[in-house]
Amino acid sequence: MIKMLTWISLTTLAMVLSLVTSELFHRTLIPRLVSRGYVSEDVHKPSRPKIPEPAGPAVYLSFAISMMVVSHLAGSVALEGVVASTGLAFLIGLLDDLSPLGPKTKPLLLIVPALLLAVSGEIVPRPYLPILGRARLYYIYWIVLAIMFTVFSNGVNMMDALNGMMPSSVFASTLPLLPVLITLGSHTGLLSLTTLYGSLIPYYIRNRYPAKAFGGDSNSLFVGAALASVAAISNTEAFFAISLLPFMVSGFSILASIGGLLERRDIRVRPVIVEGGVIRANPSKEAPISLIAILTSYEGKVEPRIVKEVVVISLISGLLSCFTFFFLTPR
């Protein structure tokens, strides 16, 4: 009971600390990005306003500071492993923000954060799997872990396409997993996820329509790696994969339709076209399929409506994942 109360206090502390520090870092960083000319065009608006980018450092640093404070108090190596692996993903993203990495280099580099988490010694290769129950994957698990980091990070990166879409869909798809983490008693997983929420809330306030800040790849790759880390330390990889299905629709479809790895900015035929603030699927049959293209395949839609629909779909996948855990997973 005392242990549980300690973890509840630590989780609350970590979330509040990350929320406050993230807000302070955003207030400090954004004016500096503007004054130094670190801005990007918002291509989905008719006026194409210049938006400060990347706000990723404000999100990651608040997460890292809060996690380090709490890991020091709790004496948890797993939390330090999460900070290290997500930090590496953040640095890869920051490098990509400053000087774009190749379409094959980035996914390969994103395997390294998985290795860093693996060497922390806190990962048990016994994931809970729907239908099968708790598996023993002593050999194959490490390959799956590396793939998971790459897939999650790139999936979140693909989802960071419209104002507020990435943070709101992360909230919607992972909030239904909180009861799963509580049921499994994964204190470290729960603490890491709520700390991530705390860091993302000030960013979401600035990134929602009409956006005042863009996170950049440093933010999206960090968030993807953080979700993969939470899944790995709590052995809920399959449930995170189900809840993040909308994130993977774009990634897998683009991969399958193009037939290889390409950067979002390097795709020759764009999945969607923008006309006067209305987004619709590119009529070309060669255009790759993305989640936004699917949503606008029947009629053109404005940005906030697409984001709302993505949030609903993310919530559905999160609830499906929660249902799978409680009703279709032997424990």
């Binding site: 239908i131 399959a238 993977m248 897998f252 699917i294 395949s297 009629e299 499906l320």
Partner: protein, 97 residues
């Protein structure tokens, strides 16, 4: 009497694009569960003793998942192109809120 609670017939709450997106997620979920069910059948029939048997089960499971994902993509693409063809026929006006 209940009809007054329903929206006007011309007001679309959900459109075909939104339904297709929901289909893509739900069908993906079903495919994952079906692949895992296949592995469960293999484990029940072949057992789990021996490295080669375990490896066979893992390989068959991954191949089943890969094949199912490819079929999922082909179906999704066919439906996507069908829905998109209606957009080309003059349904591309602003439908936003």
């Amino acid at each position: 009497m209940l009809h007054i609670l329903l929206p006007h017939p011309e007001v679309r709450i959900v459109d075909k694009g939104f339904l297709l997106a929901i289909y893509s997620v739900v069908s993906g979920w079903v495919l994952i569960l079906m692949s895992l069910s296949l592995i469960k059948v293999l484990i029940t029939t072949l057992g789990t003793k021996g490295f080669l048997i375990a490896l066979t089960e893992a390989v068959v499971g991954f191949l089943a998942l890969g094949g199912a994902l490819y079929l999922w993509y082909l179906t999704l693409r066919a439906l996507f192109l069908k829905v998109k063809s209606t957009l080309e026929e003059g349904n591309g006006g602003p439908g936003g809120t």
